[in-house]
Structures are given as C-alpha cells and as structure tokens.
Amino acid sequence: MTNRLGISGDSSLKPGATLMNRYSIIRVLGVGGMGSVYQARDLRFPNVTKYAAVKEIINIADPSMREMVVKIFEREANTLASLDHPAIPKIYDYFNQGDRSFLVMEYIDGKDLETYLNDAPGLLGEELVVEWAIELCDVVSYLHNHKDKDAKPDPIIFRDFKPSNIMLDQHQSIRLIDFGIARNYMAGQKGTMIGTEGYSPPEQYRGEASPAGDIYALGATLHHLLTKQDPRIEPPFSFSERPIRKVNPAVSMELEAIINTALNYNPGDRFPTAHDMKVALQTFKRKTSALSHISKPLPTGRIDPAKIAGAPSATPAAAAATGSEPAVVVAGEVSPLWAFKCEDEVRGGPVVANDVVYVGAYDNNLYAVSAPDGKMLWKYATDGGLPGSPTVHNEVVYIGSEDRRLHAISTRAGKLQWSYYAEAPIRSSPRISDGHIFIGADDAKLHAINLQNTRATWRFPAADAVRCRPAIGGGMVYFGCESGDFYAVDMRGERKWAFKAKRALTSSPALFNNTLYVGSMDGNVYALDAGNGWKIWQFRANKGILSSPAVEGNLLVVGAADGFIYAIDIRTGREAWRYQAEGQVNSSPVIHKGVAYVGSIDGSVYALELANGKLRWKFKSGAPITSSPAVANDVVYVGSFDKHLYALAA
C-alpha cells in the first residue's frame, strides 16, 4: 500500500553532495510529498558560514507532466521572489538539475510550532499564542492582498496552515515555511490511510480554495496550539465539539470566541478578512494587558456547561431565601400555581388521578387535594409516617405506612376499605399487576397481595429491607433491597435470577425494552438484561444513587448524591449531559414532553431540557425536596420538606 511519504528515503541527497557547485548539502530538514528539504551551506561565502534552505521537487517520469510541473514550479518561484514580508522567507535562487528542480531560500534557525508545542511541558499560555496569532493574521492579510505586476488583485491562498508550517525564528518571530509548490501535484492516493489533513476547511474538500479557507485553517492551528489536541487524529471539523476552554480553562472566553468565529463551517460566518481577525485579536490583547495587573484567580477544574451556555444560575437572593418564607421568587425562577400545606414534611411523591392529587406526609396523613385549585378534599390518618408514594387503582388509593400496614382507601370518601399487615414498617411504594399489589417492607420481604381476598399469595424473602417500588413486566417482578441484592421473581414467587450491587438498592428499577435500570448507593446506575441478569453497562456517579431512573427514548435521567443530574444514553451507557444542582439529588426525575423534572436537597425543583440538559426553569421551595414530582395536564406536583405540596406550570 501507499507509503505515506510518497517517496522512499533513499532518493534524498546525501550530506556532502553539492548542487550547482555552490550549495553543499548538510542534512535533511524534512521530507515532503515530492522531495526533501535540506539545510545547505552556500560555498560562495568561504569565510563565513552562510546557510540556505534548499527544497527539491523530484520530477515525474512522464515528459509532458514533467514539463508542466517545471513550468508551474518556475512561476511559483517567481511569485515567491516578488513577496516582501518579514514572516516570509526570502527566495535566493531556483534551478533544475538532473531529474529534480530546486528552490534556494533563506534558512531559518528555529523551531516549528508543532515541535515547540510537543516540547512544551504543559499547555501554552494565551498571551504567547495571541502574539503569534496577530503576526500570522498580518502575513495572511499580506498574502490575500497580493497584487500581480499590473497591480491587479491576485490573492495568494496559503492553503496549508498548520503548526508544522510555521517557524519561530531565533528572534521569536513567526515565519511561514512550505509554500507548498508541490502540493497541487500529489499523486492520487490509493489504499486506506490514517490521519486527515486536520486543519483544512470543509469547502476545501470540494475543491474550493479561498481566503476564508486560510482563516479557518488559522483558527484550527490556534485551536491546536491552545488545546494540544492534534486535529489530524480527531474527527474532522470537530473543533466546536471540543471547546478550547474545556481543555485549557486559562484561555479567555473572548479569545475562544475569536477562534470559534474563524472556525465556522460556513465561510460567510468567519471573519471577512484576515485583517478583521487581526483587529479582533489586537483589541482583545489591549483589553487583557490593561487588566493584567488586576490578578484574579483563574477558574480551575470542571466547567459547568450549563453555565457557559448562559443558563440562569443561582443568585445570592436564592441562597438567602431559605427560612420562614417558602417560594421566594428570584430571577430565572417560577412561582407556584398553588401551594397546599400539610402538617409535616412531605417525603413521598404525589400521584394524580381524575384531577385529584394524593400525597402522603410525615404527619401520618394521606391527603386528597383538588388538582385545579389545591383545595383539600379529604385526609386519611394512618398510625405512622408515609415515606412512599401512593398508587390509585379502580377508585382505591393504596399507600404503605411506617405503621407496618398497607392501607386501601376509597378515593371518593377517603375511608379505609381494607388493610394488610407486614411484619415491619413499609417504606416501599406499591405496584399493581395481575390482580395483585406488590410492595416491599422492612421485614425483608416482597409481599404479593391478592386484591380480591386481600391476603398474601406469596412473600418472597430478600436479604434485607425492601424499600424500592418493584418493576413488573413479562410475568416477572424485579426489585432490589438494602443489602444490594436484586431479584427477578416470577409470578409464582420463584427466583429466576439475582444480582448483587455493592451497596443498597433503594432506587426503584425502571424496566424499558427488556432492560432494567437501577441506581445503587454504591454510586452506579446498572443496566441489567431482564432475561438473564447480566450487567449490560454500568455508569459511575461520584456518590451514591437513591434516585430512581426515568427513561424516555434513548435517554435515562437520574440524580445522585454528588449533586449532579445525569442523562445517560442507554444505547451506549455513556453520559449525554449532566447538570449540577446545588445539593444532593435524591429525588426521582419524571419526564414529560421533552423536559425532565427533578427535586434536590437544595430545595429546588429543576426543569431541564431532555435533549441537552439546559435549565428551562427552577422553583425554589423552603426546604429539601427528596420525593419524585408527578405531572398531569401540564402541571407539575411536588412535595417538599417545607410541608407544602406545590403545583407548578410545566
């Protein structure tokens, strides 16, 4: 297959070889597509050591092609000879000898920027790169404004900006090398190759070469210099997916914006000229040098993408809002449609059925509240706290209580229909299927209770307290317990498979497309094959997960005690986005019309766009929110430790 260098190293001239009785070859500086570049000594100056750079083109055998190549070579040599800019090396001579053409030019004693970058121990500072960028814009502007001998515009497109074509001479000035005379005559490539040109603009692959293309390549070069990410081994044109400040937070936002402008896909969206880009860089430089005496700590660590995107963030007023008055409205926040006050903390999630919201509170009461206006319809007292969520089925609302009972209460009158005793407090939420109600308890059992005779059909012994809401599908019941054991049990109460997480599985599993998704206090979200219990993937948060995952489309959303709300692509098991709340997120998200709603210990309910994690709004209650919100008729209902049940417009 193709040798990437195009020619074999054997054809290079050996040290000591002399050209035109004048240029004595010292060493090979580089090998290009059509020949080598040498350092040579000019023998016309016997008493001083004067060096020159000699670039060769090895001509192709085909005589007609050869003639054309020589002609174009001479024309370009003439063009180069007419250029006069401090960043462009001087041309001394050109000639043909044997099967090769040679160009003799100024030898630059220095380092190319690729070598400079690779040798640098860390990331380059922006002051240095801005200095180079201004010099580069200056020379590019000179080339683009080139005029022919009749003073007509004849822009020269450099076409190949990259760090290896830029030298830093002994005076630390920028010099452009490799005007790429050979570039147009590269033989057609055969066979698969690795590595793209990396810096070229998209339109260049359609054969378009324009000044705007040089501006893109200049932007690409600056991106590489500031990030140390070589674009030749990154996905082509992926600069916008790899923001400079994500890698190098010391870079100013303004500089990032200037480089991003140069890197726009659409040539019309870039700087109209290199001069305009130079002016933008100079303005930026003046501003930063004026400010440089005011030292301020540079941001370090991870950047919250939501904040870069300009999403509203917390204001000092929000932080001060905790205390007596709940629901203080500050910028970026919403106010409730109504608020209903219970006698104690609301820890369980509400459920909505037929325009009635049912919610349990730590005052032992189950409340039925009118959804449109927040008026209480009835309340029902149990003998213990209600940490779980109710379930409504056929005009009966079911809720487990720390009084060890499952209560079945009529939705109309709020009167007890029947109750069922577990052997310990119930902190799980029920699920109804196949004529049974399935609920776990701290007696370390999952109870399957027949709705007709209100007696247990079976009780499955788990290793520890069962506090999650079981998932049911395909004739199977799935649930985890506080020891981290997870069970798949069939409708006869027989274990089919089991799985063990390292810590508690309080999070309720979500069953979606024959895969179970469950969070654990060990900090993982697990995706388990519902058929056999194999772990398909696991996703690690920084701290434990109490939140139950919500799945829609290809995205799973879950909160964690590390304060993040994560969206995971279930087709890869990898993070799609994350949003940082101001406290632990133990509440379970609900997804409604492309928005994820979730509460946090910081007291807020966050409404995040499912597609990208951007904050749509937030609502701040007076105390932590640990329960899951419920959504019905575009209204979000959520309970808070501030004793209120809130109704918020979705």
């Binding site: 190759m193 793209t196 998209p202 996905p235 082509p236 063990k500 094959d529 056999n532 993937w537 087709r571």
Partner: protein
C-alpha cells in the same frame, strides 16, 4: 453501474437458481443446512427476510472472505465464535464476531488486523466464558458487558501499538448474549441490522468523507468517488487512549446482523446487500453470494462478511 447490478441479480434470481455455481461447502461443519435441502420453499415476494434459522433457539452464522481480484495480500481478518447450552440450566446464546481490516505498507496491515482481532477475542472470551458456564444459582460476580468490550478493545489497541507499531486496523466486534447486542467499532468496517425488511447501518465510518457527508458538504455519491475516501481519522493502533464507539441493541427474533469490510460495502449498495441476502437460502449462502458479487463488481479490495441470524 446500477444496470450492471440489476443484470447481475437478475441472473441470480430464484427462477434459474440452477445456473448458480454450487454453494461452497460450509466453513463451519456445524453450520446451517440450506432451506432448499429441507424441501422448504422461499418466495422472493415476501416482505420480511426469508432466512429462517433451522433450530428455533440458536444463532445461525455464515462467514466468507476473499482476497479480491486486485490485491495480492489479504489484510482482512474474520473471527467467529458462538455457542449455546440447552437443558435444565440453559445459558443465553453466546456469539463473538470480529471483522478487522488492516492498513500500512508491506505486511503491516495483515499483521495489525490479526494481532488486534486475536487480542480482542481472547480478552472477551477470558472474561465472559467462565461466568457464562458458572452455576446460575450461585452468586457469581459477572462482568459488565460494555466494560468487557472496552477493556478488550483497549487491549487490542495496545497489542498493535506494541506489536505492529507502524500498522493500524479497523475493528468491528459484535458480542451477542441472548438478544442483547454489544457492538464496538473503530474505523470503516461496518455492521448492519436487517429486521422486518428494514436495513439499519449501526456503525458510523470514522472517515473524512463520512464527516463531509454529515456536514452536508458532499453527497453520498460524491463520497463514493472522492479522492480521499480512504482517509480514516481513527484506527486501532495509533497510540494510547483509543476512542471506541459502543452501541447496544435489543435484537428481535429473526434479526440479521451483517459485519463486513469496505471491500464489500463500498462495492454493493445496501439495498443490493439486502436483496442478495433475501434471495439466499442460508446465512452461509448469503455470505458466499455477497463476496461473489463484490468480486464481480471488480473486487478491488479484500472482502469479508459475517452474517448472523437470531433465533425466532
């Protein structure tokens, strides 16, 4: 070009099947018996894929490879392992399938693809087989499948970096456990799913032209003839920290999974691949026919195909 294919496949129609060359012997002695031998009729008009696994419970696998008509070296690698355990403590169907297409001068390409495929397969089998054969009632710590694949791909990458430093390879690996597919992919070999008449390309080529197509700079047709169509920006063996695409799918019963090198897909448009499979009597016959069609279209590159059908 298109008419050429139409003629090609008219000749291969079911009506004059006797004009076809005899199917090559199955490479796997355990492989599927062509449906024709069981006296079953297939109809070209059926909307869903006609192939039916013989056993209702196992994976059917066909494999084929050819050096092509131009190259002297075969730089493609094909690797296939699959197994089943039926009975009281049945295990989910297991399969591991790899296509790798090496690159680099001299014999570097063929060595890179071989080293990578063997390293990936060994890593996956080492981790998965013991858990697969363990007592299902015992509390065995089973590895996480995506992580098994990620570790294996990283291992394959290191094996090339260390063993064939100047070479590189594409690598597409499919792990099937029950109806769960875990696909790992680097480069421009491809995996397609065919289910209920629909074709879906699962993998995304890590090539320059693919990016240009996605950005709307060039069309698919322009990409197919673009001078830089063979330029990849990602391959196994190009240094540490390889980024691997991972894809998960639940496969419905009867779904077909095709993994192939660019020597196949760049010669045969997807609808033709689909048509050839539809007209074949077995997964093995389909693989043989696909390779033959790529050769008849010029065979400029090495050709590799693995076709897997889920039970059901």
């Amino acid at each position: 070009m298109f008419d050429f294919f139409k003629n090609l496949f008219r000749r291969r129609g079911l009506a004059d099947r006797e004009t076809l060359p005899p199917p090559s012997p199955p490479r796997d002695p355990d492989d599927t018996v062509p449906l024709a031998e069981l006296g079953m009729k297939t109809s070209p008009d059926a909307t869903r894929m006609l192939l039916r696994p013989i056993s209702p419970t196992r994976l059917s696998v066909g494999v084929a490879q050819d050096v092509g008509r131009v190259r002297s070296h075969n730089e493609d690698v094909l690797l296939s392992f699959h197994g089943e355990l039926a009975g009281l403590e049945a295990m989910p169907n297991f399969g591991l399938f790899i296509v790798a297409d090496g690159m680099g001068g001299h014999s570097l390409g063929e060595r890179a693809s071989s080293v990578a495929a063997r390293a990936v397969a060994k890593a996956v089998l080492d981790e998965v087989l013991p858990s697969l054969l363990a007592d299902p009632q015992a509390d065995v710590e089973r590895p996480t499948l995506t992580e098994v694949m990620e570790r294996a791909m990283a291992g394959g990458n290191n094996a090339v970096v260390e063993g064939v430093p100047e070479g590189g390879t594409t690598l597409t690996a499919a792990l099937i456990l029950g109806d769960q597919l875990i696909l790992s992919h680097v480069g421009d070999s491809r995996a397609y799913l065919f289910a209920e008449g629909h074709a879906e390309q699962l993998t995304r080529d890590h090539s320059l032209v693919q990016r240009l197509v996605e950005m709307g700079q060039i069309t698919e047709d322009e990409a197919a003839v673009h001078q830089q169509r063979s330029v990849l920006y990602r391959a196994v063996g190009q240094g540490e920290g390889l980024e691997v695409d991972v894809m998960l799918r639940r496969l419905s019963p009867g779904t077909l999974l095709l993994i192939c090198s660019d020597g196949l897909w760049s010669l045969l448009p997807t609808h033709l691949i689909q048509q050839i499979i539809r007209q074949s009597a077995s997964v093995q016959a389909a693989c043989d026919a696909l390779v033959k069609a790529a050769n008849e279209a010029g065979g400029p590159d090495n050709i590799t195909a693995i076709l897997i059908q889920l039970p059901g």
